[in-house]
Structures are given as C-alpha cells and as structure tokens.
C-alpha cells in the first residue's frame, strides 16, 4: 500500500482536490446515508462524483491513498468508524504497525520526533 508522508496539511489545494471524497465521508454523519453506503459502496461513490482513483481508495480502504488524494483524516475517520476501526488502527496503517503495536507505542509515552 501507499507510504505515508510525514505530515498531511489539509490546505486549500488539498481540500479542493479531495472535495468529493471528503464530501462522501461527511455524508456518513447521517444514519440513512450510512445504510445506503453499506448497501452499495461503488454506486454510492459514483453518485458522489469520485474520480476512479478516489473510488478505488475508498473501496480498498487505502487510508494513506485517500490522504494523498486530498482527503482529510477528520473525514476519512468516519468511514473507519463505520468499519469498526479505531484511530489506533489508522495510526498503525500510517506508520507500518499493527493497531496493537501502535497502541503500545502510545501507552509507552508516544512516538518522538526531533
């Protein structure tokens, strides 16, 4: 899967590129939309105007790929929750660890940089 950059700055260029994918994830704050998405994910992506790459990233749960396509973690996290995945799971994905390893690193005081 895609390798994560150090930081994702959710700037105007990113939010413009990631508009469709963020909008899809935002719609999951509505329980009816959550049911619709689950019933046919691909059709839901098409109805939200996702590009082929964005659609693939959603369907494959390529969490890093979504960020590279301009999505924001605050939006994609709503999709993770729908999948029953935690923020620790995503942290593991971004850093090449399992969710358990990532959780353990946090409990040990967190990851340090610089």
């Amino acid at each position: 899967m895609t390798e994560a950059r150090d930081n994702y700055l959710n700037d105007l260029t990113a939010t413009r590129r990631g508009y469709a994918i963020n909008r899809l994830c935002a719609s999951l704050t509505d329980p009816d939309n959550r049911r619709r998405f689950t019933a046919d994910e691909a059709a839901y992506c098409d109805a939200h105007g996702l590009s082929p790459e964005q659609k693939r990233a959603i369907l494959d749960r390529d969490w890093t790929g979504m960020l590279d396509l301009g999505a924001s973690i605050f939006y994609t996290f709503k999709l993770a929750v729908l999948d029953g995945k935690s923020m620790q799971h995503l942290g593991g994905v971004f850093t090449g660890m399992s969710a358990e390893e990532f959780t353990a690193a946090l409990r040990a005081g967190g990851r340090r940089f610089g």
Partner: protein, 283 residues
C-alpha cells in the same frame, strides 16, 4: 456587569467522552486521567457559572467543506449534539445564551474581528467533551448555558496563535462589558501534542506540552509568538489545536491563579491535559 470567574483549558478527545458514556472511567487505561480531573471538578462544582463560553473547533461535522469560517460564534437559543458518524453522544442538548452572543458579536465585529455567526449549530465532541470534563453527571441538563466560539483548526491556514490571543483579549473585554450580573467561565479546548495522520502519527512531545502548560499562565505572549510551523513541528498537525487555549487565556485578566492541572499520556492518540485558573479580576 458580567464577570469572568474561571478559565478551563482541556483536551477534547472523543474517547474521553466515550469512556464516560460507557462507564469505563475506572478501567486501568482511563483511571489515571480521570483521577487527575478530580480536584478541578470539585473546585468548579462549587463555582457554577451562568454561562460557559467554550472555544472549540468542529471536526467535519457542523462545518463542512463548502464554507469554512476562520472564527465563528453560536447565536442560537439551543444547540443539538452532533451525530459524528457513530450516533449522538447520550448527553443533554446545549442551551445557548443568545443575548450574550449578540452582545459579543457586536463588540467583536466593532473591534475588527470578522466573525461568522451560527444561528444553527450541532455541537460535536470538541464542545461536549469539555462540558463532560467539567461536569461528568449533568442529569437532564448542563449546569449552565453555553456560547460556542469556533476556531478553524482543521483547514490550513488556521488563524495565527497571535490572532487567537488577540481574539481572546477582545472577547474578555466584550464579556466584561455585558451589562448584566452574570458569572462567566471560559473554556479553551483541544490539544495537547498529537498527530493523527502521516508517518509522524502518534507524535507526543511531553517537553513542549509541559512548557505550554506552564507558559499559558505566565507567558502567553511567548506562546502567541509561535508560528503555525512551530506548532506543527513541536505539537503535531493536530496539536495545532493548542491555539484555542490562547483565546481562553486572552479572555482572562492578567491576575489569575492556577487552581489545578494534570497531564496524562495517552488518551487514544493524544497527550491529554487540563489546567484550571481562577480569574482574580482587574484586567
């Protein structure tokens, strides 16, 4: 005239709310954090404000992609609890103070702050978790009315730390000029160091956090002088939320006394803290 009686800085991590909602506060993972809240909660419970002005950020719930204000303020009589994608938190809805809101908008716009006004706003964990930190068992309703003040921290560029501190100074003056006998508490929420996405996910910088926890009392100007890039490098892309503590600090007068603080790692992917200050008045 209205009076600011205390200021609370606190993390607003969703899982802190979830731990309370699901009765896990005595679990080994959570107990140290909630034990740390104890003295502050006891002190605040004796000093209930009429209104809490809560500075927070929305997390892709009430503020979408189409229209992102830098600063906003709720002007409604009532605010619903947001469904953030996993159902609404089982906490009371939030009662507003539209008269205080309208006064603050008038004063702040005249002072050159370009606020957006929200007549309708579903409040997310950024606001409800701090309310739960303050008051764990609200029963049917929260003990005070609330004026939400929103800061954009999730889309770059965020307001600078200096601008947030300036907003806080003006907000404090505006609260104190409200011509009604009213006790007001001010909440600054978010932080401490954390980063959710990217290869630096899981970043915790306890040295920076401890410095910030100390300086927010005595040297807020020093924190206000840090750049966006400083915050990202030291506190992580989401640690940027700490700029909201500066709005709270700016609203307090120069004479404050630290009542209590606590620092704990981790709450989910975050360093969590609380710092409570009594406002001794005389700005």
């Amino acid at each position: 005239m209205a009076e600011i009686i205390w200021g609370l800085a606190t993390s607003h991590v969703p899982s802190i709310g979830a731990a309370m909602d699901h009765g896990k506060t005595a679990d080994p993972y959570w107990k140290p954090l909630f034990d740390g809240y104890g003295p502050a909660r006891a002190w605040m419970a004796e000093r209930t404000p009429d209104v809490a002005v809560i500075i927070y950020n929305d997390h892709a719930n009430a503020v979408g992609l189409d229209l992102v204000p830098t600063f906003g303020i709720g002007t409604a009589a009532s605010y619903e609890v947001a469904d953030e994608g996993w159902g609404r938190r089982p906490v009371p809805h939030v009662t507003g103070s539209p008269e205080l809101s309208a006064h603050l908008v008038g004063e702040l716009v005249d002072a050159g702050f370009d606020l957006a006004t929200f007549h309708r706003l579903d409040v997310d964990h950024g606001l409800t978790v701090p309310l739960s930190v303050y008051c764990p068992d609200p029963g049917e309703s929260w003990p005070c009315a609330v004026v939400p003040v929103l800061v954009n921290v999730i889309q770059y560029p965020q307001p600078t730390a200096a601008r947030c501190y300036a907003l806080g100074r003006a907000l404090g003056a505006a609260i104190r000029s409200f011509p009604r006998d009213m006790k007001v508490a001010v909440f600054g929420t978010g932080g401490m160091s954390h980063q959710l996405a990217g290869a630096r996910a899981g970043l915790i910088n306890s040295a920076f956090d401890r410095m910030f926890l100390q300086s927010i009392e005595s040297e807020p100007e020093k924190l206000a002088a840090l750049t966006r890039e400083d915050y990202i490098r030291e506190a992580g892309t989401e640690g940027m939320e700490l700029i909201m503590w500066l709005v709270m600090r700016g609203a307090l007068s120069d004479r404050i006394a630290r009542v209590h603080d606590t620092y704990h790692v981790p709450a989910s992917n975050t360093a969590a803290a609380l710092a409570l200050f009594e406002d001794l008045g005389g700005s």
